[in-house]
């Protein structure tokens, strides 16, 4: 009936979203990749091909920083996967227990840090762990463990791990909520069938619930991956653009910021910045592809 006419309303409905999304997100993404192929020499933009990338990966001044940031970022991600997600799943498993009282209260309280900015949480932990203010030394001292205290954010060997743990603690709310939602959607009949077969308690979790929530675990893993490989706020807010001490907490996000904007004596370089961003893009893309083609397709088989 409507066939012969051009259906303008479809275009009108789609135009704003497609336009904004394309101009602000997709085009800049490609332009960034494009800018990475240029360099600025004597105020002029010159095409240099893959030169920027060779500098980034090969020239010691740059490469040391890049590989350091990448290595740190991998560690940052590993801690999130080992601490944040398992704790999130455990909390969700407890919260979804049908007979647990005050579940809503716990859920809200544990979710509160997640809604706060890294500026606030990062600063709070900086205070708590600082040797000057000394809450942590006092607390450790009061239980006779004073010798365990270290200025965790100030020492090269602990700073990155401490920050990863702070970040994990803050964002535990996200895996918790997603897994909690997934656990609630498991049909009661399946659990009852398991009970008849004598599968209860922890066993029921490992043998019935866990396989059923594997797709959700896949999703939180990839969300963690993407989030961690463009993380920036916590490190910048608590350690500054230089990601101290001595770059030990530098991750790709802070490295990108410094390259792009410069710091202290180094001038910002948009083209090298674009090269760093392109490298980050490649890393995230590989991660997402591994998830989509390697993991998710396999996980679907477990679904009901």
């Amino acid at each position: 009936m409507k066939r012969p006419r051009i259906r303008w309303h479809i275009a009108v409905f789609l135009a704003p979203a497609v336009l904004v999304y394309t101009t602000i997100m997709i085009l800049p993404l490609f332009n960034t990749l494009h800018l990475a192929l240029y360099s600025r020499i004597d105020q002029e933009r010159i095409f240099v091909g893959l030169q920027n990338f060779m500098t980034l990966f090969g020239e010691p001044v740059w490469a040391d920083q890049f590989w350091n940031a990448l290595g740190n970022n991998v560690w940052f991600f590993v801690i999130h996967m080992l601490v944040q997600n398992p704790i999130g799943i455990a909390l969700a498993a407890m919260l979804s227990h049908p007979k647990l009282r005050f579940a809503a209260l716990y859920r809200s309280a544990i979710f509160i840090p997640t809604i706060l900015s890294f500026v606030i949480v990062g600063f709070a932990w900086k205070l708590i762990l600082s040797p000057i203010w000394g809450i942590a030394p006092t607390m450790f001292g009061s239980v006779g463990l004073g010798f365990l205290y270290q200025p965790w954010l100030g020492k090269e060997e602990y700073a990155l791990t401490s920050l990863s743990l702070i970040s994990s603690g803050q964002f535990v709310g996200i895996p918790m909520m997603l897994i909690y939602a997934a656990l609630l959607t498991i049909p009661e009949e399946i659990l009852e069938a398991g009970e008849i077969d004598g599968i209860t308690g922890l066993n029921a979790f490992w043998k019935i619930k866990l396989p059923l929530i594997l797709p959700s675990i896949g999703i939180i893993s990839i969300l963690t991956f993407v989030g961690n490989f463009n993380a920036f706020d916590l490190i910048y807010a608590s350690q500054g653009a230089l990601a101290g001490p001595n770059f030990s907490t530098d991750i790709l996000g802070t490295f990108f910021y410094r390259t792009f904007f410069g710091f202290q004596l180094q001038l910002g370089d948009p083209h090298m910045g674009a090269a760093v961003a392109s490298a980050m893009f490649a890393i995230i893309l590989v991660g997402v592809c591994v998830y989509l083609f390697g993991i998710q397709t396999r996980l679907r088989r477990y679904q009901l």
Binding site: H9, T23, L29, T32, L95, I110, A182, D233, A277
Partner: protein
């Protein structure tokens, strides 16, 4: 439920673990809040104690209030968040309606194209975004932030809303068409009110990251008159790091608005999650 699943011992262990974790989670917030109400001497002498008659002081809040910037930052954050949410919801819902309602060539591909952005962080394009904002003169305006956050929020919004709009009954829409209503009227008067819960869910998902973002305010709008609350508190910490009262009070005040928003919308968040909004 049967008895085997909850022995009293298990229940105790669960409460123990949850209480312990809750304490850890709230500890940093608690420390900031209680110390913001103390005089400087007591912030250092008894950092863990609650404020009492002797240690109570509002000096930090007075300093922050006198500075005045705080309210400007707060207002900027508010404008950016509300405007971005408005555009995300309006444009997202319109696109979702077109994708779910009409069959046209390229429908699938357009849906996939819009969904790409769910997995690719917009920060990667920062270099080109800044260049574009500079060339259009939008740098250091709130519009720069609003546009970026709108683009960032659209993919997930379209994805979630398309799912929900598929569930709106076709009979209802066709009845409206028989009555001679235009497609626009059907969308605004009929479909939008029906998917209101989904709109609220999308709003909640987008609200918190936009409010808390540090990256784009730092890069696109660092000027004094366009600073957001998150950037403002970050700078404030650097500037006033010797004025502990002011820093702690400013941070406490920065916590408050998100907390209020969360209390208002938390039920919506849970409902959205459990109804499968992000699966």
């Amino acid at each position: 439920m049967n008895q085997a699943r909850t022995s009293p011992f298990n229940a105790m262990a669960m409460h123990g673990a949850l209480i312990l974790y809750t304490l850890i989670a709230l500890f940093p917030v608690f420390i900031i809040l209680i110390n913001s109400f103390k005089s400087r001497k007591f912030i250092f002498r008894e950092p863990l104690a609650l404020p009492n008659a002797e240690s109570f002081s509002m000096i930090g809040y007075q300093t922050v209030m006198k500075q005045g910037d705080f309210f400007l930052y707060f207002q900027n954050s508010m404008i950016v968040t509300v405007a971005s949410l408005f555009f995300i919801l309006l444009f997202g819902a319109m696109a979702a309606f077109a994708l779910s309602e009409y069959r046209f060539r390229g429908n699938m591909i357009l849906g996939l194209y819009l969904a790409l952005g769910i997995m690719v962080p917009i920060r990667i394009g920062t270099v080109a975004i800044l260049e574009m904002m500079v060339s259009t003169g939008l740098v250091n305006t709130l519009w720069a932030l609003i546009l970026v956050y709108t683009a960032q929020g659209l993919p997930l919004a379209v994805f979630i809303l398309t799912e929900f709009m598929r569930q709106v009954s076709d009979d209802l829409k066709n009845a409206a068409r028989v009555d001679g209503l235009s497609e626009y009227t059907i969308f605004f008067r009929l479909v939008l009110p029906l998917v209101r819960p989904a709109l609220a869910t999308v709003a909640v998902f987008n609200m918190i990251p936009i409010w808390n973002d540090l990256w784009f305010p730092l890069i696109l709008a660092p000027a004094e008159e366009t600073k957001t609350l998150t950037l403002g508190s970050q700078v404030f910490i650097g500037q006033f790091v010797t004025d502990w009262n002011a820093v702690l009070s400013a941070l406490s005040m920065a916590i408050l608005p998100v907390l209020i928003l969360y209390v208002i919308f938390s039920r919506q968040l849970i409902r959205g999650l459990t109804s499968g909004a992000v699966k």
